[in-house]
Amino acid sequence: MALEGKLVLLREERHEDQRLFVDLRNDLETQGWNVALPPTYTEGMYVKRLDAMEFSYERDSARLSVEVKETGELAGYISYSDVDPRIGATIGIAIAKPFWGTGVAFDAQEILLRFLFLELGLRVVHLWSHSGNVRALALAGKSGFEVTGRVREGMYKNGKLLDTIVMSLIREEYFARHAEFDDLLPDLALTGG
């Protein structure tokens, strides 16, 4: 079964994807980092990073390319990391500007959440953003994420002090929004929460 949604599929990274990933990293709006990075990343660096990945059955992170089903175009990537097995993980997403507002990011996010909750059996998924990234906060909210924490004025970006924001989606909320799935994973908590 492929990681496939209505609009996109999530697949392994390929060498030819790296050009777009470099562009996403070198654009201050899409690079998604606490401190601005200089736009000096190169395709060579990214290819080297990809080639350095070793085979392993023990994976606590992944970056997946987001490919538009209809056209085969690469729209960006979505990732998860910091996996605490059967408990939680953190996701991140970067989508090229031409695909903003097309539903591609939401579809990719929903596919990844389905994988994390239904395949990895996580009980919570988090993401990090900042108070100035209205688009990212809205995208997360659309999948049911809620703001659960912040580092007040923890970022300085585009000349502004911004709050670093943590958003979380717990398993029960995910399944409540997805009546098409039954949650058959036994409850860990005896007392809720």
């Binding site: 606490n34 401190v35 605490d84 408990i87 939680g88 009980r123 919570v124 988090h126 659960t148 924490g149 912040r150 580092v151 007040r152 004025e153 923890g154 970022m155 300085y156 002090l161 670093t164 943590v166 979380s168 717990i170 860990l188 908590a189 005896l190 007392t191 809720g192 929460g193």
Partner: protein
């Protein structure tokens, strides 16, 4: 140029050495400390630690490039009674901080002395604007301790783990430099 002194009235904050493993092990394995030892993130903070494991932790702390962990040594006796650390992996603008004190030396103001000193260092000698920390939601004493020094709760991130049949949250606390200055002005 003056050297920054990592000392308080009663404690000296010093680098951990190989010979510290036994002292570290004795308080890290106290049942009341387990779960809030602030050992490297990837290690499950649930079980007693062997001496060689503690050696590995101290070595790992020593190798960190964007984090410093110092031992808390009592000036009077030379006893190692805890550790204090801070990291700036994301940004020197918002470092994270933590303090761990052996249960035998808690409630004597040592932790407050040390964290007060650390805040002074971070706000006066580094670019820090926000100093933050994370605590398990069952750690009421830790939260009260942080709040007593001016930290406020800035989040409650669900499901940091499971304990005694219930999920616990990760409570985020932070203090901004202007808030710290106000607290300092009152003290």
């Amino acid at each position: 140029m003056p050297t920054i002194r990592f000392e308080t009235d009663r404690a000296r904050l010093r680098a951990l050495e190989k010979g510290d493993a036994a002292a570290l092990q004795s308080y890290l394995n106290e049942p009341s400390i387990i779960g809030r030892r602030y050992i490297p993130w990837k290690m499950k903070d649930v079980a007693p630690l062997s001496l060689s494991r503690v050696d590995g932790i101290a070595e790992s702390w020593g190798k960190e490039e964007k984090s410093i962990t110092l031992g808390i040594e009592l000036r009077e006796t030379g006893d190692l009674v805890g550790h204090v650390g801070w990291h700036w992996g994301w940004d020197t603008h918002c470092p994270g901080a933590w303090v761990v004190v052996a249960s035998s030396h808690q409630r004597r103001g040592i932790g407050s002395e040390v964290l007060t000193h650390l805040l002074e260092y971070l706000f006066l000698d580094t670019p820090a604007h926000n100093v933050n920390g994370w605590l398990a939601s069952w750690n009421d004493a830790g939260l009260a301790f942080a709040q007593s020094l001016g930290f406020t709760v800035s989040g409650r991130v669900p499901r940091g783990g499971i304990r005694s049949g219930a999920f616990f949250d990760e409570v985020m606390v932070d203090i901004l430099k202007p808030e710290w200055l106000a607290v300092k002005g009152r003290s």
